[in-house]
Symmetry: C2
Subunit: 148 residues, 2 copies
DNA sequence: TATTGTTATACTCTATAACTATA
DNA sequence: TATAGTTATAGAGTATAACAATA
């Protein structure tokens, strides 16, 4: 799958192409790094989102991640099955499920974050520390934008 | 789908998350910009790859794009159906299809590139010109790497 | 035997529509 | 009526396996 001969100048300046393959590579490195912990890349995203705004409803967590609430269901099913998150009906509004990290979930998140940081280091290896910080900041500025 | 409330500090520094959503947004802007020309984002990628190394076999074009040769078939079927590329058996090796842009394909590529540049400008709007160049260069350095 | 294009098929990720239970 | 979670289903996008033609 990984391009054996580098793309030509036209394609290699195209942002859709560059972002697609950068994401593919980063996701691949993350998957590899997380394998020992029995966690998938998307599951780390859910744990991170929950850690940010815990306790949250499933819908809030989904919005935070930018995915549909129906997609969140299966993700949480898997994490709950592994004992990493818990679901309880909200006291005041019993339509909602309050989702929280279990202690095991917090431990897993800590370990997964370390592994993820290693994968990011490998991904960023071709860049100077300044360029790496610049990349992260640029992506943040583009992705985390005020309600469009 | 677009995150209505911004992610918290943990998630919003995660490179997989940032790259995924940056790619989603750039792909969406490109799709919108290309609609008037009847070309899809992935098809522009194929046209670009062909323009870089024309004339190429289907397999060479697929490698250049980092996709499977079986995926390339349907992509080229569509482009050939629109009259933008032509396929001919290679003279010396008749297993291969030589794929070339037609004149209509070259025209379409020119127009699509202009539209794509507009989309990139909108995507990069939150960044200074220097930061935008830095982002493109950083992605190039990471994606276009010597045979891993 | 190996390679190119092709087809059939399956898998992953995702969303839309419809159901339920609550509000 | 409207919302949260769920389920069933469908549509992208992709790859793997197998086949025909050619090398």
């Amino acid at each position: 799958m990984s391009s054996t001969d580098g793309p030509g100048p036209g394609l290699s300046s195209n942002l859709v192409y560059l972002l697609k393959h950068a994401h593919l590579r980063m996701a691949e490195l993350t998957t590899k790094a997380l394998t020992p912990y029995g966690i998938e890349g998307r599951e780390l995203g859910v744990l991170l989102a929950l850690a940010d705004l815990e306790p949250a409803s499933q819908q809030q967590a989904a919005q935070r991640l930018g995915i549909d609430r129906t997609t969140m269901v299966a993700l949480l099913d898997a994490l709950e099955g592994k004992g990493l998150v818990s679901r309880h009906p909200h006291a005041d509004d019993r339509r909602r499920n309050v989702v929280e990290l279990t202690d095991a979930g917090k431990d897993a998140l800590r370990l997964a974050l370390k592994a993820s940081a290693d994968a990011e280091r490998e991904f960023l290896a071709p860049l100077s520390p300044q360029a790496a910080e610049g990349l992260r900041n640029a992506l943040r500025a583009i992705v985390i934008r005020p309600d469009p």
